[in-house]
Amino acid sequence: MAKVAILSYIRRESPVHALTGTTKLIFFLAWSVASMVTYDTRVLLCMLMISAVVFKISRIRIRDISIVLGLAAVFLLLNNLFVYLFAPEYGVELYESRTVLFTIAGPYTVTLQQLFYHLNMTMKVICVVPVALLFIACTDPSEFAASLASIGVSYRIGYSVSLALRYIPDVQREYHNISQAQQARGIDLSGKDKLFTRLKNSVAILLPLILSSLNRIETVSNAMELRGFGKNKKRTWYVKRKMQRNDWLTIGFVAVVLVIDLVVTFWDGSRYFNPFV
């Protein structure tokens, strides 16, 4: 198994890093909602520009996240391709007009409306990508549980999330060890075997992994129980930080964006901004 490319926390000094985890979580969630609701080109363009600015401020370099950006690009490209293959006239339906640019073959004509639809769809995804990446890259994982608890999520669930983050590297190492040990015994997961054999072989790796995970669950939950986890309704967090002026400003800003987004999107009774009629 090659080393899996994973985006993780990048420690730097920047105004975005200085914000509390709670603020970043709220920003990220509000931003996701805003981009999901709207299909309005003007709103999407504004959101795209704002997220580019935020990215600039965060002092995370393109180089740090180039692998992730590559993945996102491939994903978007494939998605667009498949939408076009399955429904080349979808934009025409949506925008109720038809301007043919040229024909490729058979039913596959390229219309202005279809291209416009693809543009909107792509922007909708792209404007969340920088914010999501920044959220991961600029938030200390140990602060994450505290942030979840402070927006009203039960601290037990917050604790589950931080346990997940804590044990990902361990599970990954274990998976790697087990799979190499099994490969040494001749169990193959690569494309050389038939699909069914591959699935059966994967059990040989998964079973030790699951059994050791169940042991781990036993150990960790005993340790937590011994320390009285879950006795009280609330708990405090060592890493929790006080909200500063910038935090409130950021939350206020994203709230305004969300409201404008909703107003502009639903003002004329349709999610779509239609320049064709």
Binding site: L71, F82, V83, V203, G230
Partner: protein, 180 residues
């Protein structure tokens, strides 16, 4: 909501970590956003062992982490993953795996997972996709079908094998007999 036990809290955490790691090593299929995913087999086993809330949160946290560290979250599919775990957990609630396993229980588990993946990828994911991303219905249907079938097959084969193997390792009540 009933309070989660400490064990469930830890099971969710480690289950989500497993879901994440297995999600990262999956084999892609030709349809975008769709993989032959071993993580659903593990999610189903954990849902059967630790209950519906564990299944739900393992899917939700695990899938969110996978998406957020690769190309930004695709919420409709995250919710569908969580939903699958919930349904499997609910349907297998009475299935006490720790008391041993037989053909009837395996069938029960498989009925649960088929219902769950059918609902998740045939209904929840496409409907949310139409609502949120307004993608053409034909594409979503093909994608959902592909994902649903591949998840069902993976969970059916790998999940069942895992359950059988797991049940063999548990020491059962009354398994000791007095020597004559």
């Amino acid at each position: 909501m009933k309070k989660l036990s400490v064990k469930t809290v830890v099971a969710i955490g480690i289950g989500a970590a497993l879901f994440f790691v297995l999600g990262k090593v999956s084999i892609p299929t030709p349809v975008p956003n769709t993989y032959i995913s071993l993580q659903y087999a593990v999610q189903a086993v954990f849902a059967a062992l630790f209950g519906p809330i564990a299944g739900l949160l393992i899917g939700f946290i695990g899938h969110t982490l996978i998406d957020a560290t690769s190309y930004g979250p695709w919420w409709s599919w995250i919710i569908a993953s969580a939903f699958a775990g919930l349904v499997i957990g609910v349907v297998t609630m009475k299935l006490d795996i720790n008391e041993g396993i037989d053909t009837r229980k395996i069938v029960h588990f498989n009925v649960a997972q088929v219902i769950a993946h059918l609902l998740s990828w045939g209904l929840v994911a496409p409907c949310l996709d139409i609502l949120i991303y307004s993608e053409p219905i034909e594409k979503l249907f093909a994608q959902g079908l592909m994902a649903g079938i591949s998840n069902m097959v993976t969970t059916g084969i790998v999940g069942s094998l895992l359950l059988v193997a797991y049940a063999k390792t548990v020491v059962r009540k009354g398994s000791l007999s007095k020597e004559d």
